[in-house]
Amino acid sequence: MTGPAPILFANVSKTFFKHDGTPFFACRELSFEVKAREIVAIVGETGCGKSTSFNMLLGLQKPDVGDIQVLGLDPFSESDALRGQVGIIFQSDRLLPWRTTIENISFGLEVLNIPLTQRRQTAGKWLERVGLKGFEDAYPHELSGGMRQRVSIARAFAIEPKILYADEAFTALDELTAERIRKDLLELIRETAITTLFITHSVSEAVDIAQRVLVFGRPGCLICEINCEENRAAGKSTHEIEQLIRQGLRVAHKTMSAEGAGEGVATDEVVRAEGSTSKGREPI
């Protein structure tokens, strides 16, 4: 793979302060990268800095220390330059209730100042692509949860982004619906060869989608990474790969418990799970 990684975290730290003024480390010396056209998933328990990392990637929060680059740009200070480059699927669909399906899909295109006719055409194409033809003029409250998430997927892809972020995109859906939409999304990701960063609670979802899985521990550090493709090539089954990830999560959990709810320093413990790569506090 040539050229700089589309997503790069280098020694990123982010601290918040509680009401009594004590610091809370959301991320500590976090380093990882996502290569072009790669599909990477981040898994970790609640409070391990996944959402903070996501917000920093979106440019909604600024890291205290370290460097974040998205397509070679700082997402916080060079936000405008990333317009139209990043598609996002949120946990809740975040469809604007006053917009019809087609208008919601057009949201990103409108931000890019695409003319009305063209954006309706593009949105219509994506609407059809996610299987919602005939629902052009429906308002979000008239759609089911699964349909709404499909609209948010279409909204993310309509701008033809170079990078896709998905933050626990299927958590709000029932298992069957989630599975169906996940399959369709994966198809879209492969079809468009888009660089994808997935955040999820579900180990099976991560293995199902990602080529590489990053296991996060508290406070916002990388415990280990599992290369699903390499493991599959080495003959490991999906179940075995999932076990590897769960092993990493157990280590992350032990570390969190030992450090007292994430207020301490990042772990130096080296994870020695077979098939995983220990990262600890070292940048990749």
Partner: protein
């Protein structure tokens, strides 16, 4: 092709008639209530002197005169126009201030206490101040209406801007929409329900205040006509002018409800007022 075009018109008309019928049916309790009051009133006229309870026919004649005689109708129009123009100006000023307050904490910090202070002053005091300050009648009434209704617009809009769902704001930021785009695509549609509520509240307040202002500081308008009726002990006239004002208010409310139903068509039926 031609048959298709013509066939759409009747169905549209039928739909409109259906909607109108539904709207009228919704007002059935009001009509029933008004009928009961009318009957009770008419009964009372047999026991009370005419000066206190004039018969319905007399009130009807007085109302007919208001709507048929241009010299009288112009007073109703004048009040209506005053309220309309003042509320528009008040809405513009209140919106600018409300948006500034909702966007910048520093503006809110200083403007909010001041607006609450203004709201605490009785409308009648403003009428007295305006009579002393302004010689021009229209300016006088305009000022009173502005000072009484503008704070409510500003405070409603401030609250609405502050309560815009943060998820939607983040959506805009994540898609790298600039401030203007976020304002146009997210903030404005999100605050529409509050804006409409502010209009309903201010319309009632505006009409009442306009009445008082005209009663004290004007020689035109419904307020002035009520003063005349009082001077002549013309109860039928006083009731007729009051009812015509209520009719005017109902027309305005109808317009607001119509605009609201169009702007908030996206809301589930249960959430609509």
């Amino acid at each position: 092709m031609a048959s298709n075009t013509t066939s759409t018109h009747p169905s549209g008309r039928i739909k409109f008639i259906g909607e109108l019928g539904a709207a009228l049916r919704a007002q059935q309790p009001l009509f029933v209530g008004l009928c009961v009051i009318a009957v009770l009133w008419q009964v009372s006229t047999y026991f009370l002197p005419r000066i206190i309870a004039p018969p319905l026919q007399e009130i009807g004649v007085a109302m007919w005169q208001i709507f048929s005689d241009y010299q009288q109708f112009v007073h109703l129009l004048t009040t209506g126009l005053r309220v309309f123009v003042a509320l528009i100006v008040s809405f513009i000023v209140g919106s600018i201030l409300g948006i500034a307050m909702g966007t910048f904490d520093e503006v809110s910090k200083y403007a909010k206490p001041l607006l609450h202070f203004i709201q605490g002053i009785p409308a009648l005091s403003w009428v007295v101040f305006a009579v002393i300050w302004f010689a021009n009648v229209e300016l006088r009434i305009g000022f009173i209406l502005l000072i009484v209704t503008m704070p409510a617009f500003a405070l409603y809009i401030d609250g609405a801007v502050r309560s815009v769902n943060l998820d939607f704001v983040h959506l805009g930021q994540a898609f790298r929409a600039n401030w203007t785009q976020r304002f146009r695509m997210i903030t404005i549609p999100a605050i529409v329900p509050e804006v409409m509520s502010a209009w309903v509240v201010n319309l009632g307040a505006g009409v009442r205040v306009a009445m008082v202002a005209e009663l004290i500081g004007s020689t035109t308008g419904v307020g002035f006509q009520l003063l005349n009726a009082q001077a002549l002990f013309d109860m039928a006239g006083a009731i007729a002018w009051t009812l015509s004002l209520v009719a005017l208010l109902s027309v305005y409310l109808g317009v607001i409800r119509f605009v609201e139903s169009r702007l908030l068509a996206w809301r589930p039926k249960g959430e609509r007022q």
